[in-house]
Amino acid sequence: MDNPYLLIVIASAVAGLSAGFVMHRSDFCVAGMFRDLFLFRNGFMLRQLLLLVVVSMVLFEAGRLTGLIPPGPFPLLGAPALTSVAGGLLFGIGMVLAGGCVVGTLYKLGAGSLLGGVALIGMVAGSALYAEWHPWWSRLAAATTLADDVTLPQFFALPSAALTLPLAAVGALYLHRHYRRGGLSRPSLALGHIAPWRAALVLAAIGFGSYLVVGMPLGITTAYAKAGAGIEALLWPEHTANLAYFGAEPLNYIPPFAASPVSGGAGPQLDAIAAIQYPLITGIVLGAFISARRVGEFRLHYRVPAVQYASALTGGLLLGAAARMTPGCNIWHLWGGVPVLASQSLLFLAGLLPGAWVGTRLIKRFVIR
């Protein structure tokens, strides 16, 4: 294809629109899944996330075995470092305080939640702020790197199927046990409700589709830094131009249907990151907007206690900064990295769990009273 960006933009927009629609209808809130486990001891929604991971594991492995996707890990996944645990911890706190993760806040914004919009502003600002301490943080990441191998199968020098398929089987058995007890579905009176298990299957299919066409599963947070860099460049052009983080282009790969490589980074320029992630972000907000309009539930809500705005903004700032420190967000790592057993993603998850616990304590004590 002459223009590698056209297909990427279209595929990402379609992925975003469908994901936004489905997430709104099923209320597929990843932040809520972790939070409710700690707050209400309710693991119903977290099981839906496990279903998404297990199905993605099988799909990605099938893709690799049939040659549809390359055997190695997808672009932008880095070597495992302890800084990913710290990033996960802050991310976990941030997503609970923000009332949604980097994608959850988008679909809530699309349905009319102003708090989602405030969290988005926080995420953009937090991502851009990270550039201020990036040089120091990347040195820390280099100093705490545990191995050169990106995935566990690489680390153990095993074919990936030897680890992913048995793990997927264990996950499937666990889910089957819950399924037999009726623990995977529950009735809902919400209009146009899509059962979360169906949503998990659709989202896994969307992630696989993105892997096939774009060359990697869903990820959106570098674009938050990019948007922040664009705004910062308007206000303080010289300072922004001198920040090393905005000058780097960590993405450099040949997309599946392209003849030449494309590259991209967090700087304000329109590049491959912009082509992949901006349509995805816009698509999610728009998909949720369409969904909410179709069931007559779109309404702008702004009359909420001021402390909730403060919580959404703080959470957003934490989410934005943490996603750069990890690097990567929960969607990138849980829906993409964990299914390929990327060590960085597993370390992120190890930090995310206690982070969500801390966030739950904070929101219960200071925000919702």
Binding site: D27, G99, G112, L189, H301, S311, A312
Partner: protein, 85 residues
């Protein structure tokens, strides 16, 4: 027929998980009145998940509930005896 006091709770637009948390707080704080039929809690929410989780959680506590659409949101009534019936 005795009058039933309606305790209204408008949680539209609020941060998650305000809906379930604030509802449970209200229900727990008025449990005697609700159990005797003297009061009922009526929640207005735009949280689609709360439409499931509020009836589920309050049913475990022994209450009845009914869900209806109102404007762009949902109205969830939590009670013990159907004094409207």
């Amino acid at each position: 027929m005795n009058e039933t006091t309606e305790i209204r709770l408008d949680i539209r637009g609020q941060i998650c998980p305000s809906c379930l948390l604030l509802t449970l707080k209200e229900v727990n704080g008025n449990h005697q009145a609700i159990r005797s039929g003297a009061a009922e809690v009526v929640v207005f929410t735009d949280d689609r998940q709360a439409v499931t989780t509020i009836p589920e959680a309050t049913a475990k506590m022994g209450y009845l509930s009914e869900v209806a659409r109102e404007d762009e949101a949902y109205r969830i009534r939590i009670f013990t005896r159907d004094t409207h019936g």
